[in-house]
Amino acid sequence: MDSNGDDLSTTARNRAHAPGPDAPVAVELAGVAKRYDGAVAVEDVNLEIREGEFFTLVGPSGCGKTTTLRLIAGFETATEGTVRFGGRDVSGLPPEDRDVGVVFQNYALFPHMTVGENVAYGLNFADPPGGVTREERVAELLELVDLPGTADRDPDSLSGGQRQRVAMARAIAPGPDLLLLDEPMSALDAQLRERLRVQIRTIQRELGITTVYVTHDQEEALAISDRVAVMRGGTPDQVAPPRTVYREPDSRFVAEFVGDNNVFSGTAVDAAGSTGNDVLAVDIDGETLRVATGPGADGTGRGDEPNPDSGDRVTFCVRPEHLEIDRSSNAVRATVESAEFLGETTRVHLDWDGTPLVVRTRDPLTGTVAVGFHPDDAHVIDVERL
């Protein structure tokens, strides 16, 4: 188990390329709302996307992630609020004047043009960056997306993955300030998706282009992004780096949407401090479980909820990989319901007096087992004062 300090340093190490929090803001959405005939698509959206950042909007369908992207692209006009690029209000600006590159889910390659003509289309309205000719720019980009020599082919003759890369090349060709990707891989099979997301990330780093990525796939979002906005019901629920979103979800929704999770709710039976500095005892239907609350509301990320008093309602979560089998303390007894063999691990579904639990183990389990966790591995999501 990492301590808080370790946690931060690993994050920093893995985000070596990511722009720091003091990088200039490239895109800002301030109090943005979009309504259609009274129905809310997005509401109360406040986001700051930094220059060079790979920023992902993730959430279930209907959460407003695509609408948010379309508001940034200029395909939709906000009902309320302001969209700014580099501090400049772009609200009235049509998409062709926003210097954005867009890749759609279905790629939207122009079927009546060759691959080369597709990639060159944006160069009708902007000079190729770097003082090269159109042809050189097209060749350069097809090289970049690993499709050299395909300029004369018809989009129809390409595979899904190839089309996706042509769409990327086309979006990047005029040298946009901002790259917008709307579920660009959801039509591809899982293996190809994993390969392509590495490629997209590499290209993005190479060009240092600010990128907004929309996906419903939380695993993809965690894998590819510098920061993630988890959206729900038209509003971002949590905006943070992937690790923070995974380890320290701000809400029950984020905890359950991002990865597998075990969420518990119970009553605090010991006020903070009485059982030790950081550990809180929570009573759940007669069982008492101990949960670390962190050193208090001091801004380390964990524990920004207020320290609970006795009798408060506490919601916390424990990841399946942190639930230990045959643990003697801080454990409950649960019955094995079913198991899914996933290769490296097995996902085991347990039943604890009607509450479903999910555990990751190496070996299959049967019967009734003791299952528990180290208090440090629990994360308090919410404290409700009574």
Binding site: A73, G74, F75, T77, T79, T82, R84, G87, R88, D89, V90, S91, G92, L93, P94, P95, E96, D97, R98, V100, G101, V102, F104, Q105, N106, A108, F110, P111, H112, Y121, G122, N124, F125, A126, A167, R170, A171, A173, P174, L180
Partner: protein, 625 residues
């Protein structure tokens, strides 16, 4: 559009505080934004202006003329009255025994008399009767063709499938000539019967000839809509039914039939409406003995009895619209949405195994092929054959020579071939020029999402359902005879009215060919182009137009062909004028000289085919029809 907070460069009310007077980049951006806004607004205005223009043309050449006919039927000598209608409804000549009910007799007595031997059905009854029979024959000939096209794979299947659109463009009067050449006393049928030692049959001026001619036109239509529905049946739906225990027949009955049946009904409804308003075929094959409503309206117009003609036209329109409306109500309730992802596999024409179950349907199709080739090929072949056959049965070019002689020595009142050809070409080109923009604009307007789109679509497509006689009569009475507006008398020439009428009958085809392309146009293509820097109008030029171009070309080919073959409104408008077209020339010949009529028919066929092929060269796609 909501008010933009940034109205001017650096005005104090700019709350964002990002646009400063001393920031050249920001004020340039603001200027750019303003021009972009203006451009966006302009582009939206352009579409609105085009839509209004189209609406204006429609009002002048369709709704106004049709409205004048409606008014004419209820205003007699300046007094509003329903007298003409009442008289019409009580006239057994039109309504048969039903007129007695309208006249106030006990319906039961009338019904008893109607079941007796001296029933009268009147002109309207007869029109409905022949339309119903024509519909039966068309469905009987159309459904097997759909079965063949949807379920079998063979060489030329695609060609055969595209041929089913031909009847739309074949001039009806030419087809009528073909039928006379087939079924006439000295026609092909009797020659064949004679050669086989069988007695001759007399089919001219009989109901049978009319029914077969109607089937020639409408069976391909039935086949077309039915094939489309059949092809959209999802194979996995049938496989699901089979796996749940249904036998092949049961699976057909439960899965295929419910999806195909509404299409057959749609074909039948359209056939009924078309044949209810039939004109050239009955005029040529039935004469006034077997007159339908439309033929009678024409006769009333010729006798200058406009009020009665107008009233009769209105009655006809009401009946046609009622049938269409009933059908649309049915369709709205019964349309089966099919996933249609995986079509049924097609079977080879040669059965893979020799079993009765494999052979039986194929044998049926064989019989069908014989009947169909007689119905569909014989008329055209007979016409061509008759045009080169003399009275003695020997091959001759005398009919074509007659046309040339007539061209050189014909009197002013006689029909000469060259003016007919020239008029046809000029009218076709002019009406296509009107119909194309109208059709494209209506296609754009009806494929966008907005409130009242259905109403706009219905109003724009109404000319499809309104008879040519009614439009022609309206144009004649409303515009050619002139209208008085504020002391000015406005009248248009007969030829201009003909162009207008042709454009009105042609543009629905443009809408039908262009709309599917627009509808299937992926919005993200347009958005991609805009994100890459293209303005809205540039997107129209670079993306939308190239992608719908095949539909536009097909629409143009149709508009031209429809104009060349148009007969119904032309004959109303060409009375007295020398604005006659090829179909009118054929009609003037057909009564007296069949030979020259067939020769003229061949000329029409050739000119139409050449025009069609020339336009086709630009790359047409007819999938919308």
């Amino acid at each position: 559009m909501s008010d933009d907070p940034v109205d001017d460069d650096g005005t104090p009310d700019n709350t964002s505080g990002d646009t400063r007077d001393d920031d050249p980049e920001a004020s340039a951006a603001s200027g750019q934004r303003r021009t972009a806004r203006v451009r966006d607004r302009l582009e939206r205005r352009v579409l609105a202006a085009l839509a209004l223009g189209t609406l204006g043309v429609l009002l002048v050449v369709f709704y106004y003329p049709v409205a004048t006919v409606l008014v004419e039927s209820v205003v007699v000598d300046g007094v509003v009255t329903l007298g003409v209608f009442v008289e019409l409804l009580r006239d057994p000549f039109y309504f048969g025994d039903l007129a007695r009910v309208f006249a106030g007799e006990n319906p039961l007595t009338v019904a008893r008399d109607f079941l007796g031997p001296d029933r009268r059905i009147g002109i309207i009854g007869f029109t409905a009767y022949q339309a119903a029979l024509s519909t039966l024959v068309s469905v009987a000939l159309g459904v097997p063709l759909a079965y063949l096209l949807a379920r079998f794979e063979f060489r030329g299947r695609r060609t055969l499938r595209s041929l089913t659109i031909l009847p739309f463009v074949l001039p009806s009067i030419m087809v009528a000539v073909g039928f006379v050449a087939t079924f006439g006393r000295t026609g092909t049928l009797n020659s064949v019967l004679g050669a086989l030692g069988l007695p001759p049959v007399e089919l001219m001026f009989t109901l049978e000839a009319i029914l077969i001619a109607h089937a020639f036109y409408n069976a391909p239509l039935v086949a077309r809509v039915t094939t489309a529905a059949w092809e959209s049946v999802d194979a996995s739906a049938i496989e699901t039914a089979r796996s749940l225990g249904a036998g092949p027949l049961r699976a057909f009955y439960d899965v295929v039939a419910p999806q195909v049946y509404p299409a057959v009904l749609m074909g039948a409804a359209l056939t009924f409406v078309f044949t209810f308003g039939t004109f050239p075929i009955v005029l040529a094959l039935g004469g006034f003995q077997l007159a339908t409503v439309e033929v009678f309206i024409y006769r009333l117009v010729r006798d200058l009895n406009y009020a009665e003609a107008a009233a009769l036209a209105v009655v006809e329109l009401v009946i046609s619209l009622a049938v269409l409306f009933a059908y649309l109500r049915y369709e709205a309730k019964h349309t089966v949405q099919s996933g249609g992802v995986r079509p049924l596999p097609r079977k080879p024409l040669v059965p893979p195994v020799n079993t009765v179950r494999e052979w039986l349907p194929r044998a049926g199709l064989g019989v069908y092929a014989v009947v169909a080739s007689f119905v569909f090929i014989a008329p055209i072949a007979s016409m061509i054959l008759a045009s080169v056959t003399g009275g003695d049965g020997a091959l001759t070019l005398e009919h074509y020579r007659f046309l040339l002689d007539r061209q050189e020595t014909g009197a002013a009142f006689q029909v000469r071939p060259w003016p007919a050809i020239r008029n046809s070409l000029v009218f076709a080109a002019a009406s296509a020029l009107v119909a194309l923009p109208m059709g494209v604009v209506i296609a754009v307007v009806t494929t966008r999402e907005y409130l009242g789109r259905k109403l706009v679509g219905t109003l724009a497509m109404a000319p499809f359902a309104v008879s040519g006689i009614l439009v022609g009569l309206g144009l004649l009475r409303g515009l050619v005879f002139g209208v008085e507006i504020g002391g000015w008398r406005i009248a248009i020439a007969g030829s201009a009215a003909i162009v207008a009428a042709h454009a009105v009958s042609g543009y629905p085809f443009v809408v039908r060919t262009v709309a599917p392309g627009l509808e299937s146009l992926d919005r993200s293509l347009i958005e991609s182009a805009r994100a890459l820097g293209a303005s809205r109008s540039r997107v129209v030029r670079d993306i939308e137009l190239p992608l719908v171009w095949p539909g536009v070309v097909a629409g143009a080919a149709f508009a031209v062909a429809i104009s060349m073959g148009e007969f119904t409104s032309t004959i109303v408008l060409a009375t007295g004028a020398d604005a006659y077209t090829m179909p009118i020339a054929i009609e003037r010949f057909i009564g007296r000289r069949l030979g020259p009529a067939t020769a003229m028919g061949v000329v029409l066929l050739v000119v139409t085919a050449i025009s069609f092929v020339v336009i086709e060269r630009l790359g047409g796609d007819y999938s919308g029809l």
